[in-house]
């Protein structure tokens, strides 16, 4: 695998703020906290659900009706 971890610089004030925030929680390091927050952020940006063409939709609905899933 490519190099697994890389170093990012943070302002000391921000680092200390995060250290204070995670005290007493289950998060064991500033790096873990940052990773968690960023992953949550990127997940929210995950693409919107796909749109199927009318033809695809009709074909699927026909099958669903034939199988009794919809009326």
């Amino acid at each position: 695998m490519d190099k697994e971890f890389t170093t990012v610089s943070l302002p000391t004030s921000l680092y200390k703020k995060i250290e204070e925030k995670i005290k007493g929680t289950e998060i064991t390091s500033v790096a873990s906290y940052i990773g968690k927050v960023l992953r949550e952020h990127f997940a929210k940006e995950e693409a919107s659900p796909e749109v199927f063409s009318q033809e695809e939709e009709e074909k699927v609905k026909e099958r669903l009706k034939a199988l009794g899933y919809i009326d």
Partner: protein
């Protein structure tokens, strides 16, 4: 509707002219026959059940999954989906060239665009995925039987194999359109490899109280000795839904896949797959996807802490039982009574009764479900 995992629902199913071209091309390609489990993996990759995977893992992603439970692009992925072959067989395949993947019968299945061949350490894979090296663990035993070379690359499905359970076999595209047709904005998925008892029903209906719809999704495929046969699970669930669920609130479709019994890792894997089907929530109970006593009873719930980016919401259930004093199914958080008042949902006890021809008490199993199971001469895998 929730987006597919990784942001895009994969669909690599050839049709029309492209299918005809592939079948023609396949005649001159080296071929590889796959066992039932790998055939299911191919179908699941191509129809988007395994989104964002577009093929079998290459080395980089394989390492990421083993070491960090993430693909090389950081998308969560916890169970390696790989294609193993022997050394002699691998030598006959060239990186950068196509291979015809076929079913055990020889029927053409998919075009595989081989990108890389690589070796791996079986012991390392077993230990990381299953958290044990005990040979009695079915996943460890299976891993040790794997052939030494893994093939990585994308694939395109030419023709899906026929399944005896076609009436319950829906792709993620189909389930997503189904949920939309039903007007369900939130859908809770329920993973199972067993026939339903009253405890399962309680968990499903509790979850359904908070969502628009329930998606019962039994795993069909390789399971272990003593598990219920697939047809028993499906017909018993169909009977339960018919008699005890509101029409329009619960549907069932199968997931064709090998059960790995990987406990925590597999719980996350199950969540990802149900997300791809369009579920916004998933029920995770005690010892989800576990076997024996390899995993702490709630390890499969704790692991979700490591995946804040999954988006599908796990609904955690503690162990439940029937309380004679409460006169209902309860769990340890809501019932103040003692063990003397509890009837445990023991799969072994239910199984023993059924084998003897006894209908389990109504507190444990709906009589209609029990009768369906007892109609089978041999309801369990040998």
């Amino acid at each position: 509707m929730i987006a597919a995992h990784g942001g895009k629902l994969v669909e690599r199913v050839l049709a029309g002219d492209k299918k005809a071209e592939a079948l023609e091309q396949a005649k001159s390609l080296p071929s590889l026959r796959l066992d039932e489990d790998s055939v299911s993996d191919v179908e699941n990759i191509a129809t988007g059940v395994y989104s964002p995977l577009e093929g079998f893992l290459g080395r980089n992603d394989f390492r990421g999954v083993l070491d960090h439970m993430r693909l090389g692009n950081d998308v969560a992925w916890t169970v390696p989906i790989v294609l193993d072959v022997g050394e002699a067989e691998a030598a006959g395949f060239r990186e950068g060239r196509d291979i015809l993947l076929a079913c055990e019968s020889g029927q053409p299945l998919a075009l595989f665009h081989l990108e890389e061949k690589y070796t791996f350490n079986r012991e390392e894979m077993a230990e990381k995925v299953y958290r044990t090296l005990d040979a009695a663990h079915p996943g460890v035993a299976r891993t040790r039987q794997m052939k030494p070379v893994l093939l990585g690359g994308q694939l395109d499905l030419i023709q899906a194999p026929v399944t005896p359970f076609a009436k319950w076999h829906l792709s993620p595209k189909e389930t997503r359109i189904l949920f939309r047709e039903k007007g369900w904005k939130t859908v809770v998925g329920f993973q199972t490899r067993n026939t339903p008892h009253v405890g399962h029903e309680y968990v499903q209906k509790t979850a359904l109280t908070f969502t628009d719809g329930l998606f019962i999704n039994p795993v069909i495929g390789r399971k272990k000795k003593g598990d219920y046969k697939d047809e028993v699970i499906l017909t018993s669930y169909a009977e339960l839904i018919k008699n005890y669920y509101l029409k329009g609130r619960a549907v069932m479709a199968i997931l064709k896949m090998e059960m790995r019994y990987a406990g925590p890792r597999e719980a996350v894997h199950h969540a990802i797959l149900r997300k791809n089907f369009g579920c916004t929530h998933i029920i995770i109970g005690r010892d989800h996807a576990g076997v024996g006593t390899y995993y702490h009873p709630y390890a499969a719930q704790d692991i979700f802490e490591e995946f804040p980016d999954l988006q599908i919401i796990p609904l955690f259930f503690r162990s439940f039982y029937f309380c004679k004093k409460c006169n209902s199914v309860v769990n340890e958080k809501i019932c103040p009574h003692g063990a003397a008042d509890q009837i445990q949902f023991s799969g072994t006890k239910i199984r023993d009764m059924l084998v003897k021809g006894e209908i389990p008490p109504v507190e444990m199993m709906r009589p209609e479900v029990a009768r369906i199971i007892m109609d089978f001469q041999q309801p369990f895998n040998d």
